[in-house]
């Protein structure tokens, strides 16, 4: 009974891990990009489950990138240690920031997190002695000497780690706490939920994941720069992936990340000039016709077909 329940997950994980056996370096590299964005999308959604719209994804991603690369270059630790350090720095900064700003709600919280990301980039740019200023810093050798298969496994580990954390959130009291905060904060408080503590906790954890993703990205591609590491792409694309896949669950952002990631690469090869136009149009159309996102639609369809079958 228990075995069969976990079978799909085990199979999925095995399939993902064995992907390099039947793909080339190209698909691995594409998957690396997709998995990084998927990780960001999922972490963004994990915060959204508490009802808080965070716009700090790119900021903590960039912060983690810089922390990892600077520690690696200046202290010479193992890349893994520096990636973990990137996560810790992003998490600790988020914790401190969260203590100050998590009294804010709605778009006030959103814009404040966005502003913080802007501040990180400008501050890092203006200390060129340490950070390399506008040009950033480069790694003499990047992780695994560019071996795509190993890099794929590294990034897959990051994504799986995030999925596991997300599922832990989904299967423990954390889900009930976050959902109650999202649905009605006053009810949550009156029912004994320490709203502030949970929000700070989730904000720190998701930011730490974004920092880990940033550190990994920086090691894979071998450089950090204010323009590259804090690019708005690291906010907007994950956001689109999570929303398109369907929010408030683990599998929505995962599916959204895979679908949009694959779609963007496919369109690029089919329509070299103007693929982004088609990509944007697809986002618009999907939003209009599948308002619950891909997973939400699938779930609704599944439920409906189940109910009708039950009725017959």
């Amino acid at each position: 009974m228990r075995m069969t329940r976990y079978l799909p997950y085990v199979l999925g994980a095995a399939l993902a891990a064995l992907f390099p056996l039947f793909s080339g370096a190209y698909l691995e590299q594409v998957a690396v990009g997709m998995l990084i964005y998927l990780t960001l999308a999922l972490s963004w959604d994990m915060l959204l489950r508490s009802g808080q719209l965070g716009f700090g994804t790119a900021g903590f991603f960039g912060l983690g990138s810089y922390a990892a690369i600077l520690l690696f270059l200046n202290v010479g630790v193992h890349p893994f240690v520096s990636i973990a350090f990137g996560g810790v720095v992003a998490g600790v900064v988020a914790l401190l920031v969260g203590l100050a700003v998590l009294r804010l709600r709605g778009m006030y919280f959103a814009i404040t997190t966005l502003a913080l990301a802007g501040i990180f980039a400008v501050v890092l740019r203006n200390f060129p002695g340490l950070t390399g200023g506008s040009e950033g810093r480069m790694l003499p050798n990047c992780i695994y000497a560019g071996n795509t298969t190993k890099i794929y496994w590294l990034v897959l580990a990051l994504a799986v780690f995030t999925i596991v954390i997300s599922e832990v959130f989904e299967r423990t009291r954390i889900r009930l706490a976050l959902t109650s905060i999202r649905n009605d904060e006053r009810v949550a408080k009156s029912s004994g939920v320490n709203v502030f503590k949970y929000l700070v906790f989730v904000f720190a954890v998701t930011s730490a994941i974004q920092g880990l993703a940033g550190g990994t990205y920086a090691h894979v591609f071998g450089f950090v720069s204010p323009e590259g590491s804090f690019s708005a792409n690291f906010l907007l694309l994950p956001l689109a992936m999570a929303l398109l896949g369907g929010v408030h669950s683990t599998w929505g952002p995962v599916v959204g990340g895979l679908v949009l990631g694959a779609l963007s690469e496919y369109l690029k090869l089919q329509i070299p000039y103007g693929h982004l136009l088609v990509y944007g149009a697809i986002i618009v159309v999907v939003t209009l016709f599948l308002p619950q996102g891909l997973m939400g639609t699938v779930r609704a369809w599944w439920r409906r077909s189940h109910v009708t079958r039950g009725a017959q």
């Binding site: 423990t172 009930l176 959902t179 649905n183 949550a188 408080k189 009156s190």
Partner: protein, 238 residues
Amino acid sequence: MAVLRTEALERRFGGLVAVHDLTFELAENEILGIIGPNGAGKTTAINAISGLYMPTAGRIFLGEEDITYSPPHVRCHLGIGRTFQLVHPLVDLTARENIMVGALFGQHRSLRQARKTAEEIAAQLGLERIDRSVSDLTVLEIKKLEIGRALASDPKVLFLDEVMAGLNSDETKAALDAVRGIRDQGVAICVVEHVMSVIRDLTDRVIVLDGGTIIAEGPYSKVSADPRVIAAYLGEEE
């Protein structure tokens, strides 16, 4: 020995005084009614006692403990439970999970214990469709769910803010029985209600608020004859 006691409680919003000089006690196993015309400060008083608004003056004691400035979740842990005037179910959770929230966070039960507690409470309240999503439930079921959620946090004091509103007479009767059942478990209850028959049948004692302060106190029969109370209600009706 009073379970809950307030001393000269006050809550202002800017220049507006919503509640002032509110001093009352709630005894063990008592059902207290709070009545008063619209805008009398009933819900504000509950919000101040349950911690959604911090009092601007005065004190609140739960048993011996001063909870005047405790945050709302701490008050819940200490034993204050409440429902809301307009129903506030957690719409993305099932009925069972709604009740579990109270057990999980009010009493810090484990998931398994909370699930069991939810079942017991649902059975006690007669809430049958426990694994349905909230959108499928009737008004009565949602009200039961809200009471259940408050009850699951194992309160010493339970505030019921207009739970009977919108129920028909049979449903009201069922609800009254449920509330008495809760009292019999040793929970002191404070009901805010517009339906006077409910107050008459249910409460041991009534306090009447007008303009944010107490204008009368005593058994329903005595209070309902008080000319100040009648004046307050008449003032509302004109």
